[in-house]
Symmetry: C2
Subunit: 259 residues, 2 copies
């Protein structure tokens, strides 16, 4: 495998830092190639602004159009171009981050905002009444697989089906389906460490072993079976799930996973 690890934690000696290091060593020992984007160490610019598009920036700024023009002209900033190149190189992408306020830290969201430019990650393919782009299963990054490795402060029960925070799979859906599956990446079930702030040194070997197991079985792990947009499951142009696929009245993110 050619694995890109995108890592987002300010403390190298944190649990997240340890999980990232363990991923590098485990994958390299298994003969895989690994590259790491350690966003804090890179001092990653989190905030998308007109400077990202140079001479392609219009006045007033149009984020989608301008980022697409800069992408097509090859004039996105070097930091963004480098990340796009890594994504195209990789066949597997691991995101290592703590769940802060139920989603990714700002520095990682800013990586998405800036790297996932128009024409690269969205605005790909024909958009008309009969086709709404190549996305959700198709797109620039099709053929790749991703895995979220997430540390969570609260206990697992709070993130269970009836837990007060909402199910962890639903909390991660906007990332897994909305950010990763959108440009074509298949998404493996996440690796979630709960109660991260309460872990004791005695807990560490079990967490490490569980993570090593996931890493060693990445190639044989089945992705979450999200429904592709363009293979018949959705009506056009509404992009509503077809009535026969799930009972009318059913709602929620789980509709978009094949059962």
């Amino acid at each position: 495998m050619k694995t890109l690890i995108v890592h987002a934690h300010p403390e190298p000696k944190s649990l997240n830092g340890s999980l990232k290091d363990l991923a590098v060593s485990t994958l390299e020992e298994a003969g895989h190639q690994v590259r790491v984007s350690d966003l804090y160490a890179m001092n990653w610019k989190a905030v998308l602004d007109a400077a990202d598009y140079g001479t392609a920036a219009s006045d007033p700024l149009k984020v989608a159009a301008d980022s697409g023009r800069a992408f097509e002209a090859g004039t996105l900033t070097p930091d963004v171009l480098a990340e796009q190149e890594k994504l195209l190189w990789a066949d597997t992408v691991i995101f290592q981050f703590p769940l802060w306020w139920y989603t990714m830290p700002a520095i990682l969201k800013g990586w998405v905002d800036r790297v996932f430019s128009y024409r690269f990650a969205y605005g790909v393919g024909e958009h008309s009444e009969t086709k709404y782009g190549e996305r959700f299963g198709e797109g620039t990054l099709a053929g790749r697989r991703a895995l979220l490795s997430v540390t969570v402060g609260g206990p697992a029960s709070h993130y269970a089906a009836r837990g007060i925070n909402g199910p962890i799979d639903d909390l991660l859906f906007p990332i897994q389906h909305g950010i990763l599956y959108y440009p074509g990446i298949e998404v493996l079930p996440p690796f979630v460490v709960h109660g991260a702030d309460r872990l004791t040194p005695e807990d560490h070997p079990a967490v490490a072993e569980a993570w090593r197991h996931r890493l060693r079985t990445l190639e044989t792990t089945a992705p979450i079976p999200y429904r592709p947009q363009n293979l018949g499951d959705y009506d056009l142009p509404s992009l509503h799930l077809k009535p026969h696929l799930e009972p009318i009245g059913t709602t929620g993110f789980s509709l978009h996973v094949r059962t």
Copy 2:
């Protein structure tokens, strides 16, 4: 009302900028006090790091504990202290932002990551086997109301109950419930402008009138009836919704809204 508007768009002449300006003028004309945190104009630091906690930063950095210690010592950075003061001043908070990759832009997530410190927005109240803090309906910001004003690129049908992106209410749940209701803020139904990239000048008056109507009726709008954590709806310590409140087997974010 005393309204804080937190605004996150890089282009003042954008739809988001116009909606923010319209909120300011509409509320001020109605005699309300308004303060604005224009995050791009403020050059808001989006990335949480050890520098946020000064001498309260431990080595290795512990985000929760260190931010709580800095909060209690009054030594959080001036930019964060100013935002916390605005939140305590306000009775109403409006967030104006574009939905980028199904959630808020990085600069706004970074406002949350840094301003919502431990002991201010979380880690409040007793945490034991019989009580898991004052949160979800209680907390430092109880008594306040918030409203998301969000622009969305895609058409409304893609965000409907069976739409491919998932329902907009579910996409906003991690923000509305997980970020705002958590420290005690009641959340009003969002104001969502769909198809934002396809709006023509002919559409603008209708959007403006709809927004003015929401602003003028803010005080009489009922909040989303999220379930308070500590008023009997949840079992302890699991914080699972009690079996009699929704059928067993039901899952998803909507469980946490009283029906």
